[in-house]
């Protein structure tokens, strides 16, 4: 380097050397100063000056880094930035390029919180055995938060969508400033004293580390620890934390997430009911199929058929039997009547009266004996003639 400096240099060569030296030599700097001449650009970058009582240095924070800053810097803010030196050759200026920025003293706050956290941890305040389960069946959820904040709005939206039957009770609290911790603690205590709800969401939306401090105060930690009602701590964004997170029964990364946790039981119950109903339908369908199969086997149609066929068989036999009987009867009758006619005719033929009717007479003597031959009667003898309709006494003359 020394060799290079001995020779003749162009402005560019010198600037390049300065740039190389400064940028390679000054990085990972932690610089504390006061913000002045703060000029946010329309493209999202921040330009400003960091100064103290005697010196100033230009500073820039590009868009890619500014979103991580949880407060809006303004004139006079005392901040600590982490960054590196950056040389702008065209103007021959140097500036500090900031990667992160926090309000000065934030480090002290973090250290204080860490110490407090240790103390309560040692006292057993964060012990898992103190954690109460989040009930599945809820009726009323209490929300300790600002009544006008985005956190409450998010919670109400999510609960309306996921668990509209859940009642919400707002316990308005100041969530920022000196009175906030007392306000939050009082509301937690009130909810417990009056048993106002089944679960409490205690929280607020995002903010600077100072904004979130009330949720790390002793009174709040104590109130959460003493609470009989299960508490979900929901402070700030995912990356934020407060000691209430450790004391609470459950930590939600955001207020919205707390509302999702609270309504999960409702979604589960709904799902349970729906799957139970599906099971009922399936089981019933199975039973009906079974029954209809059985009905086919033993059912009306086949039963009727079997009864009918039995009846038909019997009828046939019956009809047959009847026919036979009649036939036989007829035959017997016919035979009998035939025989009767014959017998009658025989009888008639044999009846002597019938012979008399044809004009014959029966001749008997006085003693009543048949006179069958002329030789057996003498002249002068008295004979009896028997006609069909009467008798006559005659005497033989020759």
């Amino acid at each position: 380097m020394n060799d290079q400096l001995k020779g003749e240099l162009t402005v560019s060569e010198l600037t390049h050397l300065i740039k190389q030296t400064l940028e390679e030599g000054f990085y990972g700097l932690r610089v504390t100063g006061e913000i002045s001449n703060f000029r946010p650009s329309s493209t999202g970058h921040w330009f400003f000056t960091l100064k103290d009582s005697s010196c100033a240095i230009s500073a820039v924070m590009f868009k890619g880094a500014t979103w991580k800053v949880d407060f809006s810097p303004k004139e006079g803010d005392k901040v600590t930035v982490i960054g590196s030196l950056d040389v702008y050759g065209a103007r021959g200026t140097y500036q500090i390029k900031c990667d992160s920025m926090e309000k000065s003293g934030a480090g002290d706050i973090l250290a204080l919180l860490e110490k407090r956290k240790q103390r309560y941890a040692e006292l057993g305040y964060f012990d898992p055995k103190h954690k109460k389960p989040i009930p599945k069946q809820l009726h009323t959820v209490g929300v300790v938060s600002s009544p006008t904040g985005a956190a409450l709005r998010d919670i109400l939206n999510i609960l309306q969508r996921r668990a509209p039957s859940l009642s919400v009770l707002v316990l308005p609290a100041t969530v920022q400033g000196d009175s906030a911790a007392q306000s939050v603690a009082k509301r937690i205590k009130q909810a417990n004293d009056l048993l106002l709800c089944d679960i409490l969401i205690v929280g607020r939306g995002g903010g600077s580390i100072e904004d979130l401090l009330p949720f790390s105060e002793d009174v709040v930690i104590q109130a959460i620890y003493d609470s009989e009602i299960p508490i979900i701590s929901a402070v700030g964004h995912e990356i934020d934390f407060a000691l209430s997170d450790f004391a609470a029964d459950l930590r939600a990364p955001t207020p919205s997430a707390a509302a999702e946790l609270v309504s999960q039981g409702f979604l589960d119950t709904l799902q349970q009911i729906q799957s139970l109903r599906a099971a009922l339908v399936k089981e019933m369908a199975y039973r009906l199929t079974l029954a209809s199969q059985r009905a086919k086997q033993w059912g009306l149609d086949s039963l009727q058929r079997s009864v009918l066929s039995t009846i038909e068989k019997r009828e046939y036999v019956l009809a047959n039997a009847g026919n036979n009987l009649q036939l036989e009867l007829k035959q017997r009758l016919a035979t009998a009547s035939g025989r009767y006619e014959i017998a009658k005719r025989e009888l008639q033929a044999l009846n002597p009266l019938a012979i008399l009717a044809r004009g014959y007479t029966v001749v008997t003597d006085e003693r009543g004996a048949l006179v069958k031959s002329a030789k057996h009667s003498n002249v002068g003898q008295i004979l009896h003639l028997r006609f069909i309709d009467g008798q006559r006494k005659v005497s033989v003359e020759e």
Partner: protein, 69 residues
Amino acid sequence: MSFETDVARIEEIAQKLNASDTTLEESITLFEEGMRLSKSLEKILTEAKQKVEIVLSENPEAAEITPFE
């Protein structure tokens, strides 16, 4: 009559429907009861109108509660 006992009742019905000693006639009655209960529960869960109230004072002795907004 409470939500929890209703859910438990549906579970019981599902078990009975599954049991082999339940007659077809009983199962039809059970099925109808189960469907009726599950539908009314689902209605309660999904069609209710959200109730939001606010506790006015910080008084730990009494809560003055009114509808929110």
